[in-house]
């Protein structure tokens, strides 16, 4: 079981961290959440039922939600983005500055559940079946939520998308 969990970690490290960051909105808490999730998985000696990738994503998501609950309400902080800034050299930029700003704002404006679904699907590389297992929801619900998230993003970033694909 340990080897399986460890393999999932190394295969999905970026996606797991991004999911934790999308929930906690704080890099330090996201790191704590990932570590805490694996500490729980290993200390409890739990054998994943079903898909191990979905199981580990669910563990990290739960740990991130716990981190948010523990955060003192009297210490508001600027929410951190899941995205990095653009590299200074335009030759190394995969998106334009305008697209970067538009996508970042659009993703951050999504309802929390939709943002999670985008992160799990696009950045975690999960299938709808794995997302359904991780979230404990029916597959059609999960798929519909993801489609709604893409529609919402499409409305917001259409202006920046069209010139690129023209």
């Amino acid at each position: 079981m340990h080897q399986t969990v460890e393999r999932v970690y190394f295969d999905h490290r970026q996606g797991l961290y991004t999911l934790a960051l999308a929930i906690t909105r704080c890099p330090g808490r996201a790191e704590d959440a990932v570590q805490e999730a694996f500490a729980r998985l290993w200390s409890h000696g739990v054998r994943p039922t079903g898909d191990p990738v979905a199981y580990v994503f669910a563990a990290v998501r739960n740990a991130a939600i716990d981190q948010v609950r523990r955060q003192p309400a009297d210490r508001p902080r600027e929410p951190a983005s899941i995205y990095n800034g653009l590299p200074p050299d335009p030759a190394h930029q995969a998106v334009t500055r305008e697209q970067h700003r538009a996508v970042r704002e659009a993703v951050e404006a999504l309802p929390e559940a939709q943002r999670e679904s985008v992160v799990m699907k696009v950045y975690g590389g999960l299938t709808f079946q794995q997302m359904a297992e991780a979230l404990g929801e029916p597959l059609p619900t999960v798929a519909a939520r993801y489609r709604r998230a893409l529609d919402a993003l499409g409305h917001r970033i259409r202006g920046t998308l069209e010139p690129y694909h023209a």
Binding site: E6, E31, Q35, Y83, V122
Partner: protein, 141 residues
């Protein structure tokens, strides 16, 4: 359109996990054996102490009847005693109070003792909550 959006999302530069995250995650795995061993040892020690306390309480518990009267002693029913205990250990991440990384655990124990007099059903209950913070030296690779 959805494909174009997915493509654009994929081209966005993601914030990278911090460099130390692998060490922290893997340290959680290697610490497990020692942590569990420590907790088992602590659990055994705590159980031994509780057993000693329970036995002591049982032996020294005041009788409900006057022990001076042999007839009453013979007839007096012994109070039933029950003990229940709930223990929960929560991992709270790594802290560095003196600059040295330590894994922090919070152990909550609720011990409940109950005595029932089988003669008249009188019931006495005592609940003792306890909370400990455990720090275990973390190994960072």
């Amino acid at each position: 359109m959805p494909d174009a959006i997915e493509e654009l999302l994929n081209r966005m530069p993601l914030r990278r996990p911090p460099l130390g995250i692998d060490a922290r995650v893997l340290a959680a795995r290697t610490r497990r054996g020692r942590t569990v061993g420590w907790l088992v040892s602590a659990g055994v020690a705590a159980a031994a102490v509780l057993l000693a306390v329970a036995l002591y309480e049982h032996v020294t518990a005041p009788r409900l009847t006057d022990p001076g009267d042999p007839a009453q002693v013979a007839e007096a029913p012994t109070p039933l005693s029950m003990e229940r205990q709930w223990t929960h250990v929560a991992y709270e991440g790594v802290v560095a109070p003196d600059g040295e990384p330590m894994a922090k655990f919070r152990r909550r124990v609720v011990q409940q003792l109950e005595w029932i007099d089988p003669d008249d059903g009188a019931r006495m209950e005592m609940t003792v909550p306890r909370e400990d913070v455990i720090l275990i030296k973390a190994t960072v690779y």
